[in-house]
Each structure stands twice: as C-alpha cells, then as structure tokens.
C-alpha cells in the first residue's frame, strides 16, 4: 500500500469522523429537547400543547421522509448561510445535522414514551414540577433506550456521510466513489468498506456497553 493511499484513507477517515461527530453532537443538542417535547406535549400530558406537537411532528416527518441525497441538494442555500460555503466537509455537516436531529428526536420520544406512566404519577404525587419530572424521572429512566437509539443514529450517520461526496463533502464514502469506482481502484473501495465496518463495529460495541452500564433494570438477569 502506497503512502499516498494511506494518507488518503487517514484523511478521509478523519473527515468522516469529524462530520459524524459534529452532526451527532449538534443533532443530540437539538433532538433531545425536541424528542422530550414530542413525548410530553400531547393532550393531557406534562407540557400539553397539542397543536405545536402536531406541527413539530409534521416537520420531523417531512425531514425524515425526504431522501438524504435530495435533502443535501435542497438545502444548499441554507447550508451556505450557516457554513458560509456549500462545498467541503464544513458544508456537509449542515445537511447531516438536519437529517440527524429529527431522527434522534423520534428515538428520544419513543424511549420516553416507554417509561412507565406510574413513575410520572409518583413524581407528581411528590410535588415535582414538569421540568423536575423530565430531568429526574423521564430522561434517566429512558436513558438505556436513548443510548441504544443514539448508537443507531451514529451508525446511520456513517452511512449518510458517504453521500455528502455529492457536495464535495469528502470523507470515506467520497473516497470510495472517486477512487474505487471512478478510477477503477477496487482495493481502495475494499479498504474504505473495511474502515467503515470497523467504525460501525466500534460505535455499536461502545453503544451497547454504555447502554448496559446505564440499564439497572435487569441486574439479576
């Protein structure tokens, strides 16, 4: 393996990791509160706001049903506004984040809806405020599910990040397409896939471990 190739792979891996980690972090920052709100704002719930819930739910669904490659192209003006450019790794982070946040929000919502309503009632009976219920009951109790869901989100982002080559985003996917496919270098393609497999494997193992660590429910099992 030539040193140039090693360099290429290393650079691409770094770009992929940067894109995924930034998109995941910002996605969690936006998705977590959004998910909590979606899970607690239907009629009769802690922060009952059925209309806003429906509107946000719709926005989330629209984002999630748009194929990622179309989303990337469609939001180019927004990308330029936020990142100052519409090409390169910096720019690629914008559509990745916009795809990640609603995904994470739905994951968080699902995990929180799984929390036994009896716990919410117990907390209300203690005189907890809605914010205290979220902070001390809902999020901690949903944490194992949230961690597993975030792992899923990170793995999906690794896949999505391969597509941002379309806007010159760089990263492993881009490398694989340009060198492996367009320049007929199957060994580059294979290497790219191998690195991605390792990354996915690492993310999944880390996520599983973390989820097991925060899950106190099945100690005896």
């Amino acid at each position: 393996m030539s040193p140039e190739l090693v360099r290429l792979i290393l650079d691409a891996t770094l770009e992929t990791l940067t894109m995924v980690l930034v998109a995941a972090s910002v996605g969690i920052g936006a998705g977590l509160p959004l998910g909590v709100f979606l899970a607690t704002s239907r009629r009769g719930e802690l922060f009952a706001a059925p209309t806003l819930n429906a509107v946000l739910g719709f926005v989330v669904n629209v984002t999630r049903s748009t194929p990622f490659i179309i989303l990337v192209v469609a939001i180019v003006p927004l990308t330029r506004l936020i990142a100052g450019t519409s090409i390169g790794t910096r720019a690629a982070v914008v559509p990745l984040t916009i795809a990640a946040a609603p995904f994470i929000a739905r994951i968080v919502e699902a995990a929180i809806r799984e929390v036994d309503q009896g716990l919410v009632e117990a907390a209300r009976a203690m005189g907890a405020t809605p914010f205290q219920i979220v902070r001390k009951v809902l999020v901690p109790e949903a944490l194992p599910g949230i961690v597993l869901g975030l792992t899923l989100a990170v793995v999906s982002l690794l896949g999505f990040s391969a597509m941002v080559g379309a806007v010159g985003g760089g990263g492993l996917g881009d490398l694989g397409i340009r060198y492996g496919y367009q320049r007929f270098m199957p060994e580059v393609m294979a290497l790219v896939v191998a690195v991605l497999v390792v990354l996915v494997q690492a993310a999944q193992t880390l996520g599983d471990r973390l989820a097991r660590r925060v899950n106190k429910r099945l100690r005896n099992a």
């Binding site: 036994d116 009896g118 716990l119 009632e121 117990a122 907390a123 209300r124 009976a125 203690m126 005189g127 907890a128 405020t129 205290q132 001390k136 009951v137 901690p140 109790e141 944490l143 925060v214 106190k216 429910r217 099945l218 100690r219 005896n220």
Partner: protein, 403 residues
C-alpha cells in the same frame, strides 16, 4: 399561625437532620379538624364525541380523622383510585369540596397543589420506584424535589431505611429487591418529606399474604409511632380488617356504608358490605349438616343455632355456660373467632340436642346472657353425633397429626 401537626412525630430519626422548612405548611386552625374531608364530592369524566359522560364518583362524603387509619374498599371500577387521587390533587373534583386540615383545597392551582403534595405521601400497587436509581436515591427523590440539601437528605434517608429495615440495601437497585422490599422502599420514600397524610393505593395487592401482613404491620407502626394519618384504598378485606380503624364501602362511585371497622364488620347493612365481610366473618353450615336442616322440630331433633360473639361476649365461655345452665350437651358444629380492628369477633354454630324443651331453654339462656344469635333450624340429633362413625376413623397415634 401554627404549622402542620406532625412536628415532633419524626424525632426518632430526624433528630440529626436539618428540619424541613415548613413555614409554608398547611395551617391548622383547630385540633379536632379532620385531616381529610370530602364533602359531596363528584367526579365526572367529560364526554368524548359519541360517548356519554361518565360519573366516577357521586356525592362522596368522607372524613379522615387526624391520626386514624381509614380504608375505602370496593370492587374494581368502583372509583377508589379516583377517590384517593382527589386527596392529593392528581385528579380534580368536578363538584363538591375537599378540605385538608380544615383548609379548602378544591380550587387550588397546580402550583398550590405541588406544595400540598410535598406534605402527602403516596404508595402504589406497583411501587413505582425508579429503576435507574438505587434504593437510597429513590428515597431521596422527594427530598431532592423539595430542594433539601445533601447532608440533610443523607441523614434523613438513612433514618428512613432503618425504619423500614432496609439499611443494608441502600446501594441496591429496585430490580434486585423482592416485592415486599420494594414496597418498603416505597413507604420510606413516601415518608421522606415527613407527610401528615399517607395515601395507600392498593399498596398490598401485588404482594403475597405473608408479605402483605408485614407491610400492614409496618403501616400500623408508622401510624402509631409517627402519628401519620393513613388513607387506604383496597379491594382486599383483610387489609381493612387488620389495618384500619374506620372503613367506607364504595360501589359505583358512591359510598354505600361507612363506620368503624368493628361495627361495619359485625353488623353490615348494605349487601355489598355484607358480601365483602362474609369472607372474613361468616361461618357456613357444614354440608353434611346443611342437607338435613328442617324448619320444624322433630321429636328427637337438635336445635341449630348461630351464636355471635361481639365485644365483651367474645371471650365468655358460652358453651360451658349453656351446658351448666341447661344440664344438657351442646355440640359444636363449626366456628371461628377473628380479630377485627384488634377486637375479637366470633361465630359459633352449635346444635342443642333434646329439643324442643332443651332448645327453648337454650334460647332463653342465650337471651338472658345477652348473646346475639339466630335460629337456623333443626337437625335430627343422632345424625350429627354419629356422622363420623361411617368413616371408621380410630383415634390411634398414627392418625393424630400435630400441626
């Protein structure tokens, strides 16, 4: 203005802890004011389109004296859960008035209710412990919510875990505990903010009889030692019998009977009450006697009587008294004595042979002695006495088992 009554009740384990600030506690104007008072309370669920509205509770009057244990019993769907949730504002009444320590809380805002709830503990059928928190942190949760500082939380939680006998489980998670231990954690958690009232929502319904007894004993101790007023809802009559001072029977959202547990058990008035109470107090005529009971006395028949022992009579030796008064034998057919609200209540089925003359004398004697009894009919005397013979059951050592 005085603050809530329960100051001083927790000295055994709060001495080292910072006292919780209760300057905003519920005021008590009068010592004899009930802890909880529901006045003509109704709860109607609003109709959804295409569905009639549903009345969960209608004209409910209930008074819980300070320091007492009151039970509300009823079949499932009777409105018990709704009733108990009115007391801490988890449900809002649609009519009537709710008072806590004489203070009208019916129209309280959600913020106001939050303050009240910090003074009312609640335990649940399914414990509702946080699986993500240790036993210690579960008990600490209400204190965290109330903004108590860490040092005070530590000493108070340690005291509470000692009270419920779980000091060695402080760092365990709920998944590692048995049902009874989980409910003990629930009780410790409910008591952590030193509530004046403890609400128990089917607290023992998920537990086996043995564990139920130990939890009931703990609740009783908490009531006696800490002076916490307890309101219990249950569908299990033993809970009422072993724990409560007073009982209200609820059916279809209405309280159909209420009074002291002893009175209601020994003389139920409403059919629903009678049905519940029967499980505990009734003594059926054994099948081998029942089939032969006649309304008319025969020449050699025994008079079958059901004698009730209530209060002072419960411990008086009725059989030997009858025997000495009548100079005749009295056969015990069936019987039992139960402790109801810590007072004895017994039922005895006896057959007095040689009637009618001896039977009439027995009735006269019982009337003189002041027993409550009913005449169930007449049975051919020798049939009862000879009943065991056909089985040929000789009394030899290998047939005798000491339990």
């Amino acid at each position: 203005m005085t603050t809530l009554v329960f100051e001083g009740f927790y000295e055994p384990f709060s001495a080292s802890a910072e006292p919780i600030d209760r300057t905003d506690a519920l005021p008590v104007q009068d010592v004899d004011v009930p802890a909880v008072r529901l006045h003509e309370v109704g709860k109607t669920w609003r109709a959804r389109p295409g569905q009639p509205s549903f009345s969960a509770l209608t004209d409910v009057d209930l008074e819980v004296r300070k320091g007492s244990i009151v039970g509300v019993i009823g079949p499932s769907g009777a409105g018990k859960s709704t009733l108990v949730r009115l007391v801490n504002g988890l449900e809002k009444a649609t009519s009537g008035r709710i008072e806590l320590f004489g203070e009208d809380v019916t129209e309280l805002s959600e913020t106001g209710w939050r303050d009240v709830r910090r003074r009312i503990g609640m335990i649940f059928q399914h414990f509702n412990l946080l699986s993500s928190r240790t036993v210690f942190d579960n008990v600490a949760l209400p204190l965290e919510i109330a903004g108590v500082d860490r040092a005070a939380i530590r000493s108070r939680v340690e005291g509470l875990l000692e009270l419920v006998g779980l000091s060695d489980k402080a760092e365990r998670y709920p998944a590692e505990l048995s049902g009874g231990q989980k409910q003990r954690v629930g009780i410790a958690r409910a008591l952590s903010t030193e509530p004046a009232i403890l609400l128990c929502d089917e607290a023992t319904s998920a537990l086996d009889p043995e564990t139920t007894r130990s939890i009931l004993a703990l609740l009783k101790r908490i009531n006696r030692e800490l002076g916490v007023t307890i309101l219990v809802i249950t569908h299990e009559i033993p809970v009422i019998k072993d724990l409560c001072d007073e009982v209200a029977v609820i059916e279809n959202g209405r309280i159909v009977e209420s009074g002291s547990v002893f009175d209601v058990f020994t003389a139920p008035k409403h059919p629903t009450t009678a049905r519940f109470v029967e499980d505990v107090t009734s003594v059926d005529i054994p099948s081998y006697v029942r089939d032969r009971v006649t309304a008319e006395a025969g020449p050699e028949s025994s008079l079958l009587l059901r004698i009730r022992f209530v209060g002072e009579h419960a411990t008086s030796p009725v059989v030997s008294r009858l025997t000495t008064t009548l100079g005749a034998d009295v056969n015990i057919v069936a019987g039992k004595i139960e402790a109801i609200a810590d007072r004895p209540f017994g039922t005895l089925l006896v057959a007095v042979p040689g009637s009618p003359p001896t039977g009439d004398a027995a009735i006269a004697a019982l009337l003189t002695l002041g027993f409550r009894f009913e005449i169930l009919g007449y049975v051919p005397a020798e049939r009862i006495e000879t009943e065991c013979k056909p089985f040929g059951f000789p009394l030899v050592p290998e047939n005798v088992h000491v339990a």
